[in-house]
Symmetry: C2
Subunit: 334 residues, 2 copies
C-alpha cells in the first residue's frame, strides 16, 4: 500500500531530523532512500514510491500542511472555477523533484523489482479539497456536489487532468506500473459512484492505455464492491480493458469477487492490516492462508487490504513474507 | 432509520427541557411522545420506537453517557468474563420502562401504522463496549478480538443473549416488526464477518422465528454487500429463512443486489440521507425516482440508506413523501 515504509523505525528516525512532510516528498535523495527502506529489510517484489496523493493539491495552490496526529489540513479561499488547466504548471520544481526522485530510485532499485507510481483518484482528491481535512461522513463534499454541481464537475475535471499528467510524468520518469487509489469510493450511492468514481477512472485509464499500452494499471476503488462488481460484470464502457489488476480492500470477499471478475485480471490484496499488530502470528497465518487459497488458481499480488498501521510488528511482516514465499498448497490441508 | 424524529424542531425543543438522553429513553411518556412526533408531521407508514442501541450496555453495567457533539462515552473497569447471562436483570426498572413506552405508543398509534422495535447487533454493540466511544477504524476492537478471542466470544454471546431477550420483550410489549442494526458490519474481513456478524444474526433471528413466526425481521448489515451478498446467494445455513426484509445502506447498488436476492424478500432503502440537506429538491427527486424504479417490481419499503442528518430540511422530507405516495411509473419516462 502507498504508506510504503512509514511504519519502519528507520523511517521514523529519519523523520525526526527532516523538515516538513511535503519537503521530504520533494527531496529526491530522501524519496529514494525512504522508498527503498522496506526492500532492504524484506524480500518484497516491488517498491511503491514515497509520496502523497496531496502533492497535486499543493501544485494547484491549496495550502497543504500535515499536522502531527491530525493528518492533512488545507487552507485556501478561492472558488474552483479560478483553477484553469492551462495554468497548472508541471514544470514546477517541487513536482519535478518527485520525478527526479523516481528516476533516482529506479536507478538504485534491483532490475527484478518493480517500482509503482500512484495518484489519488479525482473523487478522493475532491473530498480533501472540500473538507479541507479528513472526514467521517464527507457531508460538506456531498452537499457541495449536489448544490454546486458545475463547480464540482469542474474540480473533478481539473483533477482528472492533473492525475493524467502526473501519472504520465511518473511513467516517463521510470515507474513500471501505476496505481489509482480511490480511498473514499465507498461513501457514494450508485448514481454518484458512476459520475465521480467510474467516469473519472475511465478517462484517466484511457489516456494511460493509449500512451503507454504496456504499463500495468492497478485500480483500488475502496470497499465499494456492489458498485464496481456490477460495472465489471456488465463490462460497462469496456471497463475490463482499463485495468490489469484490481486492488481489493480487506472488507471485500475474494470468493464473491472471483465470481464476477475474469480470470486474466490480477487480484491484489487483501489482508486485514490491523492483524499485523497481533502478538499471536497464528491469526495472521490463518488470514493469509485463506487469501492464498482463494487466489491460488489465478494471477495474484499478495498485499494488505488497506494501509499499514503504525502498530504493525516488524516480526509479523517478516514471518508473513516467509509464509507467502514458502506457500505450497500441498503443505496445507484446507 | 432508528434516529426517529431527532431532526425535528419539536424534538429539539423537548430535549432542552429534558434530563439526560438515557433518562428520556426510560420515560414512557416521552418515548411515546417522541416516537409519534414524525407521524404527526408526515404521512408515514410506520413509527420506530424512540430508544438507543446502548440501553443494553447500560443494563449490563457499563456506565453510558451521551456527550453533546461527541456521542456516547462508556466508562467501566472490569473484564467481560465477569458478566454472566444469569445476572442480567431484565426486570430492571429502566429497561422495563422501554417496554411500557412501547405498550403506550402502540396504544396511541393508528392501527394501520406499524411500530418497529430494534436492537444493535452484537458486533456493533461489542465495538462500543471495547472502543468506549465511536471510532474510525475499530482498531482496539479488532486487536481485542484477535488477542483475547475467548473473552471476545464471551461478550458476543452475552450480547446475543441480551438482544434475544430485548427483542422478545419488545414484541411482547407490542411492536409489529423488529430491526437488527449492524452499523459496523462494514469494517470486517470475510472470516470475521462470518463469525461476528453472520453467526450472531442467525442465532438471534432463529430465536425470534421460533417464538414469533409471524413477526417480520428486518436486517441491516451495513455496507458489506460482498459478504452478505455471497451468504445470501449460497443461502448459507438457510439464511434466507431468517429475514423478511433487507435494509440497504445508500452505498449499495440495488440493481446488483436484486441479482442475488430472491423476489419475495422485501428491500428497504436506500436514499443518501445527506441529499435531504439540499436546497434543490431536484437532486432528491432524481435519487428517489431511481430507487422507486429499481424496486418497482418487488415488495419494498422506501427509506433512507442511513441515519437522518440534523441538517435535513423538513420541506424536503414532506416533498419526498408526496413524491413516493404519488409515484406512478406511467408518469415517468425512464
Amino acid at each position: 500500500m502507498r504508506q510504503a515504509g512509514r511504519y519502519l523505525p528507520e523511517y521514523r528516525e529519519l523523520r525526526k531530523i527532516l523538515g516538513t512532510f511535503l519537503e521530504t516528498c520533494y527531496n529526491e535523495d530522501l524519496v529514494s532512500e525512504i522508498t527503498l527502506q522496506p526492500l532492504r529489510r524484506f524480500d518484497l517484489d516491488a517498491a511503491i514510491i514515497f509520496s502523497d496523493i496531496l502533492v497535486l493539491h499543493d501544485l494547484l495552490g491549496f495550502d497543504v500542511q500535515f499536522i502531527e496526529n491530525e493528518g492533512p489540513v488545507l487552507k485556501y479561499d478561492f472558488d474552483f472555477f479560478s483553477i484553469k488547466k492551462d495554468s497548472i504548471d508541471f514544470s514546477d520544481k517541487n513536482i519535478q523533484s518527485i520525478y527526479s526522485g523516481i528516476k533516482k530510485t529506479r536507478g538504485m532499485l534491483d532490475k527484478e523489482k518493480a517500482l509503482i507510481g500512484f495518484v489519488g483518484a479525482p473523487w478522493t482528491l475532491a473530498c480533501y479539497a472540500i473538507e479541507k481535512r479528513s472526514s467521517k461522513d464527507f457531508k460538506k463534499t456531498k452537499i457541495f456536489s449536489y448544490q454546486k454541481e458545475s463547480e464540482f464537475q469542474h474540480i473533478i475535471d481539473i483533477f482528472v487532468y492533473a492525475c493524467k499528467e502526473h501519472l504520465c510524468n511518473q511513467i516517463e520518469a521510470g515507474v513500471d506500473a501505476i496505481q489509482i487509489f480511490d480511498s473514499w469510493a465507498n461513501v457514494l450511492d450508485e448514481e454518484d459512484y458512476y459520475r465521480w468514481v467510474f467516469l473519472p477512472f475511465l478517462e484517466i485509464s484511457n489516456e494511460i492505455r493509449v500512451k503507454y499500452p504496456t504499463i500495468p494499471i492497478i485500480w483500488f476503488p475502496r470497499a465499494s464492491f456492489s458498485h464496481y462488481g456490477q460495472l465489471i460484470q456488465k463490462n460497462e464502457r469496456g471497463l475490463l480493458k482499463n485495468f490489469d489488476c484490481l486492488s481489493v480492500d480487506y472488507s471485500t470477499s475474494l470468493s464473491f469477487l472471483k465470481s464476477v471478475l475474469p480470470k486474466n485480471i490480477v487480484l491484489q490484496g487483501n489482508l486485514e492490516p490491523i492483524s499485523l499488530a497481533c502478538d499471536d502470528f497464528h491469526v495472521i497465518e490463518r488470514k493469509a492462508l485463506k487469501i492464498l487459497y482463494e487466489l491460488k488458481d489465478r494471477p495474484r499480488i499478495f498485499n494488505l487490504g488497506h494501509g499499514m498501521i503504525p502498530e504493525a510488528k516488524i516480526e509479523n511482516i517478516r514471518k508473513l513474507i516467509d509464509l507467502i514465499r514458502d506457500f505450497d498448497l500441498k503443505n496445507y490441508d484446507f
